[in-house]
Amino acid sequence: MSKKLLLEKAHVENIRLYDVYRREGGYKSVEKALKTMNPDSIVEEVKKSGLRGRGGAGFPAGMKWSFIAKPEGMPRHLVVNADESEPGTFKDRYLMEFIPHLLIEGMIVSSFALGSNDSYIYIRGEYAWIVDILEQAIDEAKANGWLGKNILGTGFDCNIHVQRGAGAYICGEETALIESLEGKRGNPRIKPPFPAVQGLWKRPTVVNNVETIAAVGPIINMGGDEYAKIGVGKSTGTKLISACGNINKPGVYEIDMTITVEEFIYSDEWCGGIKNGKKLKACIPGGSSVPILPANLLLKTAKGEPRYMNYESLSDGGFATGSMMGSGGFIVLDEDQCIVKNTYTLARFYRHESCGQCSPCREGTGWMEKILWKIESGKGSSSDIDLLWDIQRKIEGNTICPLGDAAAWPVAAAIRHFRDEFEWHVANPQESQIRNFGLAHYADEIHVPVIA
């Protein structure tokens, strides 16, 4: 049984409500932080904890906080990114829906550390009912003196506002989120200036994922050093994984990053194996934009070592043989899934969600979708596969925001690892319409050369 910090009390009935949450030891971190610590020591504690951003990029949160500019007389803001739109990711939804006070608690502490008197939760428009849950939680917290003016008599004022997005994936990118929060079209800004210098209304702003901020509470409670002891290496603490796809027990799991991928998929404690006794074909381990991995490379790294569920191990081997932890959207594909179709679906998503600001992403995503549809519908030629590779190469790294990369990586990885399946589609146009390529050799043992 792995250690739980965020979802420890998730099973308690009515933990959503303030009274129950407080009875279970909630808001202790606020008391500790506001009464016994100063902002700098909180930042120091978060730095010590090694907490990494849970939104996808995995940037150390304490480091991000220490970058915030502090000009005289200029308000600063904390913005919580709850625009969780990555296909396959639904951990923040679970957290906000069932334990909203955990987020509020983390936000109060973080706001105190950053000196933000007005903090925002930017939530995706589709999570309409969660807005009500959050606002109820904020009202309860306010009624009990945890928010508003002069919190706990420390002279610190803080208000939390919930803002709904209008259903755009791109608004999960921090500068697009800020634009949207300002009431503008959600186009990513050109960086620099970074939000830590000029963010919301040109004020210094920190944008963090829901899970990151929620983890601040436990960190303050147990101390940064203690938190850093959980996990391995630079992957400290616990991580929420939203597992979905062809598994027996889809859902949100909290792991402490010490278990292997194999254990996570097959153990009854977690995903419970592949549904209907099928075999594992491939997996997208961190939300739709990270590279897909075939079963053999997923369970073992290219060196033949078992792969663990943590930041370093999942990205072991770079993009050639590895993937990324990403946002923790763990999508499992069994032997009946068609990689070409899967890639097409993702390409269609990115085409639809591209903001249209910069040329490579705007035109390239649409082009990739069209080619993938052509291959998927049995009209492709083998030059299309090379063309696809060339297009993704020209999008990656040449765009304003990471959406271009996010659109290019899944296509690149699919071609890199499953090229024979693409070629089979091209060579057998009729057969590809009635049956799937199947598992082929994707689960075979990897040959590891012995190095003396």
């Binding site: 085409r351 903001c355 600001q357 705007r362 035109e363 020209k394 790294g397 304003i400």
Partner: protein, 368 residues
């Protein structure tokens, strides 16, 4: 004013000193020539423009003197400021050439390529870009994205199919007019410039969006299909415009005495020049669309077109005369005349005086 801090930046091995805060693109423009990256969306006179088209991507091989690490990705030179000791590779970097060709391809896959019937042809930045940085063929084999033509009032025609989404017209409308009435609808590859529920654009200065448009998406309805730009002769002219914001300094595109088109004066980067009063030379709709008689204007003289496009054909700016190689061939001798054919040859019978004949000369005359 305090002393300006100068930063030394090396672009394609050419070093130039520019004030701190200058972008790489503007530093490269000071050098000029092939070193300057192309820019489709950046417009130095419009605040906030740039960064979108990605044609100006360059490689920064050395960040600065203090921090010599190269930048990990190609950067948009129009929005990246120079650091002291920065080293930039533009045309010397194969990565940049490759990425730029990719961007040009992306820009062209949904472009109709209807240059033969497009009014912008000849002064179109996309044409220049495609010619200089693109490939000869396309690998795109799907249906191109099309839009219906939209009428934006009496003066401006929007042909969205040609648009490359540079956002310049949006910035121009934001910064020149009181209230912007058009903008971007939708997103991704179906994003479009539009007015919300078709509206006329009526502001006094809205005509300038035609000047800032790098392609033929926004065209002048008073000039549409009247002539090709390279047949008209550009001359600088001015008038006393009543509009206080208008500088009244324009370029007339004439053929004979007829004024076909009035535009703002543009510099070598295709951007509106600074007027004599120090402001940017934006012009009002009255000057642009309604003052089309040569007698309305005081003509200053032919415009100096130093762009490389077809407009400058016949203007012979910067032409160099071929050097004389005669003395070189003759090994230093410099004879005044090599051969006097009349002295040497008797074929033409110089002693026959043709003027004395009362008829056309005939071969028999020479056989005497």
């Amino acid at each position: 004013m305090s002393e300006q801090i100068l930063h030394k930046v090396t672009i394609d091995n050419i070093t130039v000193e520019v004030p701190a805060g200058t972008t790489i693109l503007n530093a490269a423009r000071q050098i000029g020539g092939d070193v300057t990256p192309p820019a489709m969306c950046y417009y130095s006179k419009l605040e906030g423009s740039g960064g979108k088209c990605r044609t100006c991507l360059v490689e920064v091989s050395k960040g600065s003197e203090k921090d010599p690490r190269p930048m990990p990705k190609l950067v948009a030179s129009c929005r990246t400021t120079v650091m002291d000791g920065m080293e930039v590779k533009n045309i010397t970097s194969p990565k940049v050439i490759d990425a730029r060709a990719g961007v040009v391809e992306f820009l062209l896959i949904n472009h109709p390529l209807d240059c033969p019937v497009c009014d912008q042809a000849g002064e179109c930045h996309l044409q220049d870009l495609g010619y200089e940085h693109g490939k000869e063929g396309t690998r795109y084999e799907f249906k191109r994205r099309t839009f219906h033509k939209v009428d934006l009032g009496d003066y401006i025609q929007l042909h969205m199919t040609r648009c490359i989404m540079c956002f310049r017209c949006v910035f121009a409308a934001n910064q020149l007019t009181d209230k912007r009435e058009h903008g971007i609808l939708d997103r991704g590859d179906h994003a479009q410039i539009a007015t919300f529920i078709e509206k006329n654009l009526k502001n006094d200065f809205i005509g300038n969006v035609i000047d800032v448009c790098p392609v033929g998406a926004l065209t002048d309805k008073t000039f549409r299909f009247k002539n090709r730009v390279w047949f008209t002769k550009p001359v600088d002219a001015h008038r006393n415009c009543n509009n206080p914001k208008c500088c009244g300094e324009v370029q007339l595109w004439m053929r004979g005495d007829e004024v076909f088109r009035v535009t703002a004066r543009k510099d070598e980067w295709g951007e509106v020049k600074t007027a004599s009063n120090g402001n940017t030379g934006w012009i009002c709709n009255t000057c642009r669309f309604e003052t089309k008689k040569a007698s309305d204007w005081t003509i200053e003289g032919p415009s100096n077109i130093n762009r490389h496009s077809v407009i400058s054909q016949g203007h012979y700016v910067g032409v160099t005369k071929p050097t004389e190689t005669f003395s070189e061939v003759m090994k230093g001798r410099d004879p005044k005349l090599l051969m006097d054919i009349h002295d040497e040859s008797e074929v033409n019978k110089p002693n026959i005086d043709l003027s004395l004949l009362d008829r056309p000369a005939h071969s028999t005359d020479f056989n005497k």
